[in-house]
Symmetry: C2
Subunit: 441 residues, 2 copies
């Protein structure tokens, strides 16, 4: 056998610090975000993976015509670093040579390099591949990635194990009509509405388990709060003494995440003018009490005793913030009628459950609670609801073979991101949102 060619491992790549390299020639690459022509020279703002670099083209210094560049041209460049106190970064990069790697084949429908993209909301969604290149749009998802990193770090520090559970399932966890159906080699299958059954099963394995992954809801709602596919941050923990422990874990996780963002995403936070919420401890209020307080405070009549109207969630948050300063509030003890069959009823009061929602800046971002771990209890509750336990045999293995007391929660990543960034519509917090009308891009 002849000679081999060997692949060496990639070298680490640090962030360039141009400021300390005044006078030196540097190489960099990126896409042209914006060109601002002046007389005899031009500013060329180059969007790199790290941010935006202010480059300067000058007739006498640059060895190429300015016409070589247009917005969204991908280039490799050689430039000389020059101190420039008037530039935001304190330096600018004087372009010497460029190599065009690719150029747009079509005129842009709108400018991407401006601070804000000037087009309609619908077009912003249609042109997502282009829109996301905008630095402020991109920052949304850098922040989202940073949130996930923080969640993982916190949960793993608390002994949670990451799981990858199937999205193709034979039973829906949440029931109802809000489930996507498909044909699976001649059998009906569904898309998981959550990793609910699996994460519960895994409390018997790992004790503490989490997953950040896609969940699917075939809801026909067309609102600013709903997506038909979203990213669920799910965790579940065994050997709990009550659902208070789940809320404590979430409080810790969110506090950690906010501090993590502050320390690791300062640029993105500034780009989006984000005001991070302070999280010390989070007030909790019972569902029925919350209902009555809102009614009393805002002189509203209660029309639905089993659920919140969106306006009530907004008002409750307003009220809680005024009284406690907290932008988060746990609402506990939701009516059993509105909670799934696996929710544990409150001992002595089966009308309500050992469950909670977390509201943040007017919107529900989390649902959680303790689950039934006793087999007979679970089967009894299923039957009371007209469900057939035989349809849930593999799920019930958890209960049949000794399940620890357990509970957990599901947090909507896009909703949290949207509220954090003050976005009106949750679609803005999804890279490629899916709604009842939208399956592309």
């Amino acid at each position: 056998m002849g000679e081999f060619h060997f692949v060496e491992a990639a070298q680490g790549r640090g962030k360039e610090n141009y400021k300390s390299r005044a006078g030196q020639t540097v190489s960099l690459h990126g896409a042209v975000g914006k060109i601002r022509k002046m007389s005899g020279f031009a500013f060329v703002l180059l969007r790199t993976s790290a941010g935006t670099e202010q480059c300067v083209w000058e007739e006498r210094e640059s060895e190429f015509p300015l016409e070589l560049l247009c917005e969204e041209t991908c280039i490799e460049a050689e430039a000389v670093v020059r101190e420039e106190p008037r530039a935001r970064a304190g330096y600018e990069l004087r372009l010497k040579r460029v190599r065009v790697l690719s150029a747009p084949a079509r005129e842009l429908p709108f400018a991407v390099g401006n601070r804000e993209i000037n087009t309609s909301f619908e077009k912003m969604l249609d042109y997502r591949p282009l829109v996301l290149r905008n630095e402020r749009e991109r920052a949304v998802f850098r922040l989202q990635a940073c949130l996930c990193r923080a969640f993982r770090e916190y949960l793993e520090g608390q002994g949670f194990v990451e799981a990858h559970t199937p999205k193709l399932v034979s039973e829906g966890a949440e029931g109802g009509a809000n489930i996507f159906r498909l044909d699976y080699f001649g059998r009906p299958a569904y898309l998981a509405q959550s990793p609910q059954f699996y994460k519960q099963i895994l409390t018997g394995v790992f004790e503490r388990v989490y997953e950040i992954g896609p969940v699917f809801r075939a809801e026909k709602h067309d609102t600013s709060r709903h997506l038909n596919e979203y990213t669920g941050v799910d965790f579940e923990m065994g050997y709990i003494s009550g659902f208070e422990e789940i809320m404590e874990m979430e409080t810790g996780m969110l506090r950690f995440a906010m501090e993590y963002l502050e320390q690791n995403a300062a640029e993105e936070l500034a780009l989006r003018d984000v005001r991070l919420p302070k999280i010390d401890r989070i007030p909790a209020v019972r569902f029925h009490e919350a209902k009555e307080r809102i009614a009393a405070k805002y002189r509203r009549t209660i029309s639905d005793y089993e659920d919140f109207e969106p306006e009530e969630e907004r008002l409750l948050c307003e009220l809680i913030q005024k009284e406690t300063g907290s932008e988060f509030v746990f609402v506990t003890h939701y009516p059993s009628a509105k909670r799934p069959f696996y929710a544990m009823d409150t001992p002595g009061n089966p009308e309500v459950t050992e469950s909670f929602d977390l509201l943040f800046r007017g919107l529900e971002v989390t649902t959680g609670g303790q689950r039934i771990h006793n087999c007979a209890q679970q089967i009894e509750k299923m039957e009371r609801r007209g469900m057939n336990p035989e349809d849930f045999e593999s799920y019930l293995m958890l209960h049949r073979y000794g399940a620890p007391p357990h509970g957990g929660l599901g947090l909507g990543l896009e909703r949290l991101t949207a509220r954090l960034l003050g976005m009106e519509n949750v679609r803005q917090a999804a890279l490629f949102p899916r709604d009842i009308h939208r399956l592309t891009p």
Copy 2:
């Protein structure tokens, strides 16, 4: 408004070090894995989140009857730590009191607390919720979680941003019949065969992007290598000079991951008797050359010039290991006919592509390569294949508006795990495997 109840953040939880607490009374919880009765006393092996604790029930010391316990009973216990040189851990826990949190409602179909579960392969899959409780089974997925942590840490250190791309799509990236179809509010939709289009699009946004998430293949193969839903470790990077850079990145990532496992999962590696591969640099061989070498070395006739047979993959790995010592091998320049429409052909030789597979211990675990970034080239290749570019409008926005030269790869997490652990069947490396016959548990 009345008083509030406030939820405090959870406290951190360190791993207990019982060994240093001889003589003290400690509290712990877990599931009874195994009871070994002796005369006047019994060993009760308690499966905790951290591992297995050797507890001892003794007639005179324990304030409860041994009959209270059976396998898979979840308990909270108070016990006294006693030094015990004969115990593997150097101590044992003398049970004082226990509280039964839940007990199995049905007899176990097999013992879970033994080193190996003694049942058929099919039953191992049917009883997954129970099987996974076995310590050696559980270790598989702790190792898998650890692998993901390593991948993320490495990639984030290299400037990759995590993305959550949609699994409900309007076009399949890989084409062919291997795609699940469903109804999306009256329109046809598909389950993503990979995040291919989206990660490519995102090279224009983040430059470097990765995702670890579910991918769906409606393949009718019923082999030990195929799953219909698996976890894809996908990354994509912009501004590359060639596909060699992708292989370098993977080499670095795998090397990092192996070191990471060694440092962070010693117990699980020991439980599974894992022999980690040494990764320094990885040999690379061209597809056609590999074909010919196998044929020559093993006196085989080549029946398929465009693809490997599984046996050839096995033989190639054997041969490479003999000659270079490496258990990994990159195979490069796969025939264009067998690669997707987005694969970049090799300049000057359009019969082959700038692509590679990575084989590990006889099995393909990764497919990757450079993609076409030029718009005209991409449209031309689509049309040559009889595809209609209009069906791919949103994907082509990448190319139309200036795409950096880019490439990436997809690695099958279950396949890598299976080969690493010396498992014959990839199903053993999925928490809840999905195959052509299996949609539960």
